[in-house]
Symmetry: C2
Subunit: 399 residues, 2 copies
């Protein structure tokens, strides 16, 4: 196990009807003028925005509203928010929506007190100051409600980039699983895939002797394997939604990833897919992640065999553990297909002919390599994308 | 899953040589005059106190020292600390030791700004104000480094009582597994038992549909099953110590216990044992907890069968799940014996003749009942203690 720092100070308020208390929590954390930041019309139509504004009014906290955050949130909306917050002297941002909405709020939060362009923080500059954020979560997926991270897409060129800072961790997050019940099955499954990917990108590590975090990772994955199909079958299953929602937070506040090297290459490759095609992040991950696994599994067959046996219930093949490793990858892909995820380019709406463009956008150039479990070159990324392009649930994985 | 609030703002700094930075963290969290609170001479002899004071001196932070905290920490030491802090205008308490030391520091922390007797907080009064605390942990066991709780023993009558408050959560905790390497095997095993008990008292719940926290509980238990024997076999196994140390924190900051009813009756019963005999808390738990399981398992046989199969690797007996449930309890007790824990009264140094005294101290009276997984009367507590008195690793568990 490596040395680490772990700091997750967000206060989580979890359960039915918890959104009614959001005004009190804004007050507790010092907000006196609030930006309510939200996505599409569903938060308005469902009455959620009304409940949020009523809660703020009960606490006599003034607010302004800014809706229209898109999936794969754009820099243009962040600029709009920054201007609005400055004009209205906003000192607290309340995100009402899913990960896109929270990520956009985080972009605004670090942009408001900064004289330069907020995009600097998405190009490597460290955040030094940010407005406090609270969230009312409506989608279990991104984990942004308890994480340091934010991903924003620059509209010009559809460039997707991220930033990380403890200053961007929400002060509080209100998690009411019932708010996710109106989500269509496809988006629910995209969220479940994102949650599992957050765990898996921590699971595949070169750090040895990390039993506690291995087991915690497997705990979240096993929960998803049980609960995701239940919620696809019955979108109003509150209990399954509740288990998935807390799993989604745990998956990404890093409690399951401390003290070990991690590998975020699948996320990185996916960002180019959703950047180019504007597809759902989870859907892109369902296509990329098993392909990445096929490409890298020989690097540590026993780790893949561990996933296969502990998470997917495969029988260990003691004579040839690689067989078990491949069975685990197949089981993962079959699971994704079973909850309605695309698993190849055609199903995603991507084109194999675009692979050179995707690889170029990934930005390694001719000589560059990524870090991670297995270091990748541009050629490797192209190979992973070719595997992804032709994947199917039934195909045996190449030895 | 029940509604819940989860708030764990402690900053954890984990790994080798991390104690060298304690001065910087005291500064970060606003300490300008520090009480260094520690236990016996081992922290002095090992040079740890020197490293801590040197770190404070580098940051030019003045300090006073108060050692001598005993296992099962006493109210008398807390009073001494309160007086010293007031006299010296201390505004930050740094605990250097194990759970007893942290619990004593928490007692002092809430006592200093309070006009009345700090013991009020251990008799049900809510803490409203407390000095900030930091910890340098030397024993993986109590989880007090990331928890709201503190347990203090009133010397007069050896009464063991506890308190809970978010205000008592340490601001930071420095966890260097290497500092636990000097711990004798017996104390290491006591710590491991305490960690497992913290999980098990959350695991046995009447709340249904809690797959995520069930799986997280099992993750910690499985880690302990692997790592505890390794560290008993080789006290200098840093990696095993590291896994146990982080497991110990996770086990008790409530991340594995949110959203579900819990059962702390074994802890409560044990407090009377260590109160009366001044035995190690973990040793008392090793005697009480399997006996409690024997007494209650019929209340939910499938939950015990789940523990047996998922944690102890027992084969599920589908014709008679109670067989599996009992096998799991036996496996737990055998495991405790294998790491050198006492599992009956004789081994603990307790006397069956004292059971009426223990039951009376437990304080239910003739009519009272506890809450929990199974509600207990005084008679039930006596029965559990009688089972504990005669337990052995080989004996079949009564049907």
């Amino acid at each position: 196990m490596d040395n680490f720092q772990f700091y997750s100070p967000t206060e989580f308020i979890f359960g039915k009807e918890t959104e009614y208390s959001c005004g009190a929590y804004v007050k507790k954390y010092g907000g006196t003028k609030v930006l309510i930041h939200y996505g599409g019309g569903s938060a308005v139509r469902s009455g959620l925005i009304d409940r949020v504004t009523a809660s703020l009014e009960r606490e006599e906290i003034p607010y302004v509203l800014l809706g229209g955050v898109q999936p794969n949130p754009r820099d243009t909306k962040v600029y709009e928010g920054i201007e609005l917050c400055r004009r209205e002297n906003v000192d607290f941002i309340l995100s009402v929506g899913g990960g896109s909405c929270i990520d956009s709020a985080k972009g605004i939060a670090c942009g408001v007190p900064y004289e330069g362009d907020f995009w600097d923080f998405y190009c490597g500059k460290q955040v030094e100051k940010a407005l406090p954020i609270g969230t009312v979560l409506t989608i279990a997926a991104a984990g942004s409600e308890g994480s340091t991270g934010s991903v924003i897409t620059k509209e010009e060129g559809m460039l997707k980039r991220d930033t990380c800072s403890d200053l961007l961790r929400p002060r509080f997050s209100i998690l009411n699983p019932a708010l996710t019940e109106s989500l269509p099955a496809y988006q629910t499954a995209c969220g479940a895939t994102d949650i599992m990917a957050h765990v898996l990108e921590r699971y595949f590590t070169n750090t040895t002797e990390v039993e506690i975090t291995d087991r915690l990772c497997e705990a979240v994955l096993l929960t998803m394997v049980k609960e995701a199909p239940r919620v696809i079958a019955d979108p109003h299953n509150y209990q399954a939604r509740a288990n998935i929602m807390w799993a989604g937070t745990i998956a990404h506040n890093d409690v399951v990833g401390v003290g070990r090297s991690q590998d975020w290459n699948s996320h990185g490759i996916e960002h180019e897919l959703s950047g180019l095609y504007d597809c759902a992040h989870g859907a892109g991950l369902a296509v990329v992640m098993p392909a990445w696994m096929e490409f890298v599994y020989k690097h540590n067959i026993m780790r893949f065999a561990q996933m296969a046996t502990r998470v997917w219930g495969c029988e260990m093949n003691f004579e040839d553990p690689a067989v078990t490793a491949r069975e685990g990858i197949r089981a993962f892909r079959r699971f994704l297909a079973s909850i309605g995820m695309p698993i190849n380019f055609e199903q995603l709406g991507a084109k194999e002919a675009d692979i050179p463009v995707l690889v170029e956008k990934f930005g390694l150039g001719e000589e560059g390599r990524t870090g991670g479990f297995v270091s990748l070159s541009s050629e490797d990324v192209a190979e992973i994308l070719h595997i992804a392009a032709h994947a199917s649930a039934d195909k045996e994985i190449a030895e």
